[in-house]
Amino acid sequence: MTTETAMTITYEDVQNILKIIDSSALEEVHLELGDFKLVVRRHGVPGASPTIEPAATPARATTGTAGSSSAPSTRESARPVAPSASTPRAHGVEIKAPMVGTFYRAPAPGAPPFVEVGSIVDEDDTVCILEVMKLMNSIKAGCRGRVAEICVENATLVEFGSTLLVIEPAP
């Protein structure tokens, strides 16, 4: 998809327009509103890189303080990692936490991490560890591809079902 936008409309507006068009069967759309001109082609121009990420459904942030009089201190250990709704997520297969636990990127302190962004992984490769009461649970890539994003900071608590990494599957 290719877009040409004037500065008179927001990024969010464009994203909404694209969502509407994307859910239709149209191959190509030209939209002109005064100074603003938008051209969308479903299969794009060769070599052009997409500027809009498809809207991943981010898990709801549940660290709200609704009605609370005293928000907890911001001690590092107290911050469960809830994916923020505003964080754009890379396109690909999301690896979700199958349990609540502490997220580790490396097999031991000081050891090199299992993967970095850009690493090529096989289905059975371990990409991280979730520790639950001293029990180390290896989390596998689950598919062949390239690590597109690591969504959690090392040594933090992750919720059940939250996204740990995103793998861009090999074609």
Partner: protein, 453 residues
């Protein structure tokens, strides 16, 4: 103690969060994916998803709970009631990881958890238990001699059992043989263990329990009784205090018995010692001890002005109780009705669904403990308790009148409720006269089903 993980859901999680906030403690709630929008999830300072809807993967998942408590910087865990509240292993695991368990020591949970051992312990310190066989009975001849010793009617019970299976009431010795063989066969089929034991069958008894609190220094007081005779298949429906069947002298001797047990097992924190009471004779017998906060605790709070949940937290933090037996004053009368998402006309069948209208009663002397609001979805995964309506007034007739008014004002739509059932009970001459017993609901079909509406 600074930050408390609440290892529960529903109205009790909300209750504990409020108590924590009252004391300036931070709260971390846990939730299953079915409770993402639940009240406790929204109310806590922080909420963490710990697993899927079935409780075994979430609210009963000890490693997930302990990991979450540690990872979110908690230093204490409140278990609420149900789920892991009376699991000695959970209390122990918390302590091993440096988390303060808001409840009794694991040893006290264990001592009271085995019902046969608890009964023996009570008997040993002179608290009367329902007369029965000392341990299991192997033969018909042995059972007959137990019957001659303690008298009829006799209740045969499966040692491994519960839920009424392998259970027989025997009224005369001539009927014993049939009942013994039948109960044995039923127990074997239901539990894979035909072992029986026998107890004197007590008819027309009331369920009366004593609330106790004890601190780490060994100071222990009781906060009087709650009468929970109105129950159905051992599920309490309505509780009140004081009991219409308990005199001040009887209250004192039940309180003494409860505190003797508390001291014997080195109990700490809040707990409840349950008895059956024969109203005519004033004789009472120990049944069991619940080593946790109970559903019906607000009845005692309304009557005595003691906040039991903040007291639990203070005791767990090492503070002294701060009051003695002489300071405990009971004023007036309090009643609690449990409003469940159940249909009394359909044998109290649970009815999950979307609550489309929720208008609880308001006003003087009324307290509502709930996690429900309009738009709440009642899921089929957990218990059906929607709310507890608690009222207090100067005396029993006034409290009954206040509860009638409160329930008349309670408008719930979208799910079935037990509101209409309670309204019938509150009008029933037996209840008004204080004459109900633990089998009254089952025996009085009019009360439980009522006319078709």
């Amino acid at each position: 103690m600074k930050r408390v993980l609440i290892a529960n859901r529903g109205e009790i999680a909300v209750r504990v969060i409020r108590a924590c906030r009252q004391l300036g403690l931070e709260t971390v709630a846990v939730f299953s994916t079915a409770d993402r929008e639940a009240a406790h999830t929204r109310l806590a300072d922080r909420a963490i998803c710990i697993g899927p809807p079935p409780a075994a993967g979430s609210y009963l998942n000890i490693p997930a709970l302990v990991t979450t408590a540690l990872g979110s910087g908690c230093d204490a865990v409140h278990p609420g009631y149900g789920f892991l509240a009376e699991n000695a292993g959970f209390a122990e695991t918390c302590e091993e990881h440096g988390l303060c368990f808001v409840g009794p020591p694991p040893s006290a949970i264990q001592a009271m958890g085995d019902k046969v051992r608890a009964r023996e312990l009570a008997a040993k310190i002179g608290v009367s238990v329902v007369p029965g066989s000392d341990g299991p009975i192997a033969t018909l001849a042995e059972t007959a001699s137990v019957g001659r010793r303690i008298g009829y009617p006799l209740l045969l019970k499966a040692a491994a059992g519960g839920g009424g299976r392998g259970m027989r009431v025997v009224r005369t010795e001539s009927a014993l043989a049939d009942a013994f063989v039948g109960a044995q066969a039923e127990a074997g089929a239901a539990f894979g263990d035909p072992t029986l034991y026998a107890e004197r069958f007590l008819e027309r008894v009331r369920h009366v329990e004593i609330q106790v609190v004890a601190d780490a220094e060994g100071a222990a007081v009781h906060l009087g009784e709650r009468d929970c005779s109105l129950q159905r298949r051992h599920q309490k429906l309505l509780e009140e205090a004081p009991s219409p069947a308990v005199t001040p002298a009887l209250r004192a001797s039940m309180g003494d018995a409860a505190l003797a047990l508390v001291r014997q097992i080195g109990y700490r924190n809040a707990g409840t010692v349950e008895f059956v009471l024969e109203p005519a004779s004033g004789r009472f017998y120990f049944i069991e001890m619940n080593t946790r906060i109970q559903v019906e605790h607000p009845v005692t709070e309304m009557l005595t002005g003691v906040d039991l949940v903040t007291t639990q937290l203070r005791i767990a933090a090492g503070e002294p109780l701060g009051f003695g037996q002489a300071d405990v004053v009971m004023r007036g009368h309090a009643i609690e009705c449990r409003i469940n998402a159940e249909d009394p006309a359909l044998d109290f069948r649970p009815g999950p669904g979307l609550v489309t209208r929720w208008q609880p009663p308001l006003g003087e002397g009324i307290r509502i403990d709930t996690h429900v609001a309009a738009g709440t979805t009642v899921t089929p995964f957990y218990d059906s308790l929607l709310a507890k309506v608690v009222v207090a007034d100067g005396d029993r007739p006034a409290a009954i009148a206040r509860m009638r008014r409160a329930l008349a004002d309670f408008d719930v739509q979208g799910v079935p409720t037990t509101i209409a059932f309670h309204r019938r009970v509150l009008e029933h001459p037996d209840f008004v006269a204080g004459r109900v017993h633990t089998r009254w609901v089952e025996e009085d079909r009019q009360a439980s089903r009522g006319p078709r509406e």
